[in-house]
Amino acid sequence: MVTNNLSLKLGWFYPDLMSTYGDYGNVLTLQNRAAWAGIKLEVVKIEIDSQPVTSHELDLVFMGGSQDRQQSIASKDLIGDKRPLIQALMERGVPGLFICGAYQLMGDYYLTAEGETIEGLKFFNLYTKQLPTDNSRLIGPITIRSELFPNVPIVGFENHGGRTYIGSQAKPFGRVLTGHGNNGQDQNEGVIHQNFIGTYLHGPILPVNPVLTDWLLKKAIEIKYGPTAGVQFSSQDFERITREHING
């Protein structure tokens, strides 16, 4: 269904280790909405032992959430091996989406319930901590308002034990309308830095929020080709109707 000559490469980091809560749905949605807009999107899976990739080979970045054991394996490789790549991509303005565990790893550090500090990539100005008595995860449907999309609330489902606090200079991805958000206190959800978005929203987030999906694709096209005149994204009607039927 490719009707123009636009093509993009999506770097999917650690699809095996970090893909716990339907994250494949985010990748599938990017592929489909790209295809439905006439853009060819190729998915490049980047694992611990993958062939090295240079920043200029990728136009989009995605990393999903995972369980603690898998997250600690991924974080070692991320910090030890993939750090320069992620940094180059971020500084180039390549759009990226980091969900839950990935979002936490992009921050300064994560303080576990046992008092252990796990270092992050330090690209996002934030830290995450777990309460010593970890019985209270922040779980439930969540709706936020993002400055990127003033007319359309973003909906999802959160499920995290960590409480994240962004720095005073950092920009949240959105403000919480209903739900907990980063820490259940400051009404912030996620973070946005350059064109990288970190968020706790599962759902998964992209299928039911095409405005965000299309934003990521548009940004990727802009960085690679310049302004996106002529790209027609497909209807968002059915997705809107789906959101309206979410009982929460």
Binding site: Y21, G22, Q67, D68, I139, G140, G161, P207, T242
Partner: protein, 449 residues
Amino acid sequence: MFNLSATVFIGRVSVFLIGLFGTGRGSTWPGEIALSLNKHFIRDLVRRNPTLKIILITGTNGKTTTTKLISYMLRAQGRQIVSNEAGANLTNGIASVLLKASDLAGQIKADGLVLEIDENALPHLLKDLTPDAIVVLNLFRDQLDRYGEINAISAKWSNAFSQLDGKTKLVLNGNDPEIFNLGRMAGDSVPVHYFGLEKEKMPNKQLGLDADQIFCPNCLHKLTFDAVAYSHVGAFHCSKCGLVPTKIFTLPATTKTELIGLFNEYNVTAAVLAVELVWNLKPDEISQLLKGFKPSFGRQEELMIDGRRVLIQLSKNPSGFNQAISIMNQLEGPKSVVVILNNRIPDGRDISWIWDVNFRPLVNHADKIYVAGDRAFDMALRLKHETGRDIVFQPTSQNYTGENITVSQDLPALIGQAIQETPSGGRVVIFPTYSAMLEARKIVAGKKW
């Protein structure tokens, strides 16, 4: 705190009253009441009946079927068995079942208990009773919003098993790395037995999208699978530290049931190993005892409605759904599919798991697809991403339709439509989540559990 007899008495009164008001056989209220009167009710009742042989069954998928298989074989042998067939597998459900089976003196006139137990409730139940065997079938993603993380569940199990003495035999799935690891970590005094399938019966070379535990529980290196039955269940070993399961019990070729699907082979194998170990049943007896076994409601249950063969197959998590779809593909003839997605408390509030189900075979093989449930639109959106066709509102029918897909939240009407639009003699396969299964069954069979 009430003593046992008083608790049983009050509990039995409540059973009677609840029966009068017809809230269904699976009611857990009597147990709830008994436990609030005496929080050690289960412990006291079991102590009063020390000769009962107890088998517990847990895991993400297959508990109800495996429990029924074990009960069926023992009853076919003439034994009196108390079991929670209706699937009430939390502590209050178990208390209810035991209450109903006991007299006012707290005596349970039975030879054995065969109880399915919820994954999270198992550690608590082990404080109340010491079973002769615990069958652990598998561990998959399921209701993550309720359970937190899968590793957390297996950690709780491991902890509970470390308190066991030699009386309890662990009957574990040796093809599931996380379950195998429970046996590896259990103390030397705990007898451990593994069950599984022969490698030759495993059709896949690769892990499914719904696969979770693929790292060596010992050294965290990525596990190598020589063959995969489904999801992350298969013949595995670690090429780094050499971890590999040995002595895995498999079914003799002569032991068969009418159940289809690879996951059911695991259920049958587990059930057979359990009765051999706890009840000393012999293999040739077992084949006889399994004759005529029919699965529980909602699990491969087939009903004839208006000349159509209606099959209900519970689909509540990615591996279960994938297996249900593979069963559907083994059926012949025209097939309509009804997918019902709810996200009520028994189903799990988070529905992101539907994106880890491989719907391609369903979309390819079903002639017509109907989508219903509280979250029908999310499921329809999932399928839209499989077919690539948009779904739009039809003013005439007031339904949303796409290519071969009809979406409606009027479940009775949609099931009726699905049955009507399927040629006579054809099949209607219903894939519901748990609460949807109860609803669909009520509609289709006019019966309530």
